[in-house]
């Protein structure tokens, strides 16, 4: 599957790409994944699925992302930024 088919926008940011890869199976409506896409409103991913994705990211980067950070994180871009901030502190 190439990036075009899976609807993932080309982006150099590895964190962004990783999140898109994790979201891709949940992207049932084939929404084009950009930083502005809202996880709950646009992708209709439920809150627990978002937390499950976060756990995958935690284990991949060996960081801990508090649930409190995530409940306020709505768009893909905001999630990416939150992970960068935590990586900066813990990494």
């Amino acid at each position: 599957m190439n990036m075009q088919q899976s609807g993932i926008q080309a982006d150099d940011d590895l964190v962004f790409r990783r999140i898109c890869a994790l979201l891709d199976p949940l992207n049932k409506k084939g929404v084009k994944l950009t930083r502005d896409v809202d996880l709950v409103a646009d992708l209709e991913v439920d809150s627990v699925s978002v937390l499950d994705i976060v756990m995958d990211i935690e284990d991949h980067y060996d960081i801990s992302i508090p649930v409190n950070t995530i409940s306020e994180t709505m768009t893909i871009g905001q999630l990416v930024d939150a992970i960068h901030a935590i990586k900066g502190q813990q990494g």
């Binding site: 809150s47 699925s49 937390l51 756990m55 060996d62 508090p66 649930v67 409190n68």
Partner: protein, 401 residues
């Protein structure tokens, strides 16, 4: 009006289900006929979606004790535990629970939900403590974390190694660490490897809270829960439970060997700012506790029923969430199929619970059967027949051949 806008989508779904007569969330028990029977939509129905595990809702000794307390102490306490709502019955029940569990201290709260809220928010200072929570923990544990205001980190369900990693990379700034798990998880009926969690938590200097809401009275040699079954009841730090399942009343508690658990009486807002359980409630919970202690046959009967139902459902090829347990859940791929299967069972005269994501651990929806020691042979026969018919009608509920 924007206050209500966010409800529109959910309300549309909810109303459409109600119009179709298919809404599992608006069921009314019109007449309660006994511990396992009620009238629903004018029809006598077998109840297998209640948490009356030890059938104590109509225990004569509990009813007599409640009536006596009602006559002697009145209908309600009209106040919180912290103010005017502590009667001698509340203190006596705390001692009885502590003695039953073999733990030094017990604090009674108004419900099981409130007990977990009160334990977590009462113990945690958001400026210096952190909470680590199993991914599948009940909403009240998450709500307790929210109320505490502390950083909350989720670890993979029933995975001590996942907890180990998260404890290992914690910022050293945290002074107190609390780990929350459950004994038996109510959606799948699976149980926690509590012993391993004790080891991991304590190795990192964290305290362990185990919510035994669904396993109190049901697991362990003497019914003290999964902690007893795992042989570590004296090692865990906080044991929380409810009166609304095996004890068939309403209320909750936090028990502990730490004498500091008593501090919850002034540190815990959910202890201080809600009314305490009524005298009749306390009296029936106390009588039910005495009864289940004196009658091990209740637990034995529960497990006999659970094993028989689990074997029958397995025989039908239904896709089950876990091994034999007092909760037996059938997995269905979509919520539409779960709604239809739930209605099918109700039409067969059987009431179970339905759960859909995000209220479920996985992506599947589920039909949850809760077993009772009070289920008669006739009840079980009806349940088995209804599930057999459902397995025929809903191939998606079966394991692929």
């Amino acid at each position: 009006m924007s206050l209500f806008a966010k409800f529109e989508k959910t309300a549309a779904l909810y109303n459409s289900l109600s119009e179709m007569g298919k809404n599992p969330f608006t069921v009314v028990m019109e007449d309660v006929l006994g511990p396992t029977r009620a009238t629903i939509k004018g029809r006598e129905t077998v109840l297998a979606g209640t948490h009356n595990y030890l059938g104590q809702t109509f225990e004569p000794k509990a009813i007599a004790a409640a009536k006596k307390a009602l006559d002697a102490e009145g209908t309600g306490t009209t106040g919180s535990r912290f103010a005017n709502g502590t009667f001698s019955g509340h203190k006596r029940l705390e001692r009885e629970i502590a003695d039953f569990l073999g733990l030094g201290h017990c604090v009674v709260f108004s419900t099981g939900y409130v007990a977990n809220l009160g334990a977590i928010a009462g113990l945690i200072d958001p400026s210096e403590d952190v909470v680590l929570v199993d991914a599948d923990c009940h909403a009240c544990i998450y709500d307790g974390c929210t109320l505490s205001g502390a950083e909350t980190i989720r670890f993979r369900h029933n995975d001590p190694e996942s907890l180990d990693k998260r404890l290992g990379r914690l910022d050293p700034k945290f002074k107190g660490k609390l780990v929350c798990i459950e004994g038996m998880y109510s959606m799948y009926g699976d149980t926690a490897p509590v012993k391993e969690f004790v080891d991991v938590a304590h190795r990192h200097g964290a305290l362990l809270l185990v919510d035994e809401a669904h396993s109190f009275g049901v697991y362990g040699e003497t019914g003290r829960g999964v902690c007893e079954a795992e042989g570590v009841i004296d090692k865990i730090d906080f044991y929380t439970g409810t009166f609304s399942k095996a004890l068939a009343a309403i209320g909750g508690f936090v028990a502990s060997n730490h004498k500091e658990a008593e501090y919850l009486r002034f540190s815990s807002r959910p202890y201080k700012f809600t009314a305490s359980p009524s005298p009749a409630t306390i009296a029936s919970a106390s009588a039910a506790l005495a009864n289940i202690k004196a009658t091990p046959a209740l637990k034995a009967k529960l497990w006999e029923n659970a094993n028989r139902l689990h074997a029958a459902l397995t025989q039908y090829g239904l896709k089950l969430a876990s091994g034999p347990a007092p909760v037996i859940s059938v997995l269905l791929p979509t919520k539409e199929e779960a709604f239809a299967a739930w209605n099918f069972l109700l039409d067969q005269g059987v009431y179970v619970n339905m759960a859909i994501p995000p209220g479920t651990p996985g992506k599947e929806s589920l039909l949850r059967l809760a077993v009772s020691s009070a289920h008669t042979k006739d009840d079980i026969d009806r349940l088995v027949a209804a599930y057999g018919a459902m397995a025929e009608a809903f191939p998606s509920a079966r394991v692929a051949a």
